[in-house]
Subunit: 104 residues, 2 copies
């Protein structure tokens, strides 16, 4: 999950994920969208695959990538929880105030 968020902190990878969101796209077709080398894209795809954000299917000499909706959904849920889990935050802040009072 942490790996997924880190992977999407990179704009290029966000764009790649968009491209393969609901279609399988071959690596070279993905690379055609960018000004960088195929190699760079291949490495980005590795990062996305290791973060489990995309899946790869091989067919002949081609390699098709597609977003993995489960992981995307998990990441989304993780963030939604982050924005809204106020209880944990309040507790931690209260502890800080408490500690400050005690240590003086």
């Amino acid at each position: 999950m942490d790996a997924a968020l880190k992977a999407l902190a990179e704009p290029r990878r966000r764009e790649i994920l968009r491209i393969v969101w609901d279609h399988e796209v071959a690596a070279s077709d993905i690379a055609a969208h960018f000004d960088v080398t195929r190699s760079a894209i291949s490495q980005h795809l590795s990062v996305l695959r290791e973060a489990d954000l995309v899946v790869e299917r091989r067919e002949g000499t081609h390699r098709y990538y597609r977003a993995k909706p489960e992981t995307v959904a998990e990441l989304r849920a993780f963030l939604d929880d982050y924005w809204t889990s106020g209880l944990g935050r309040l507790r931690v802040a209260a502890e800080a105030a408490e500690r400050r009072r005690r240590d003086r």
Copy 2:
């Protein structure tokens, strides 16, 4: 916005932002939560401040930090849009298919 997402890709900074979510907390109180140096936390706070995710208020020798809800909301909106903006994705995928057909 990009800076904000990048800032939150770091677990420590996510935790810091949580701590100052709805309370002003002094730098040293924030640092007390972690095993790393005050200095490291100070640098994390700089990153968060430059990403406009927190604001700083000085009072005497203290420096109080608090999350900036506007930026958090913007980031959240940006991501919500990312997850759901399907039209752009379809267009891009269609272009890829088109290009592939043309180039053969």
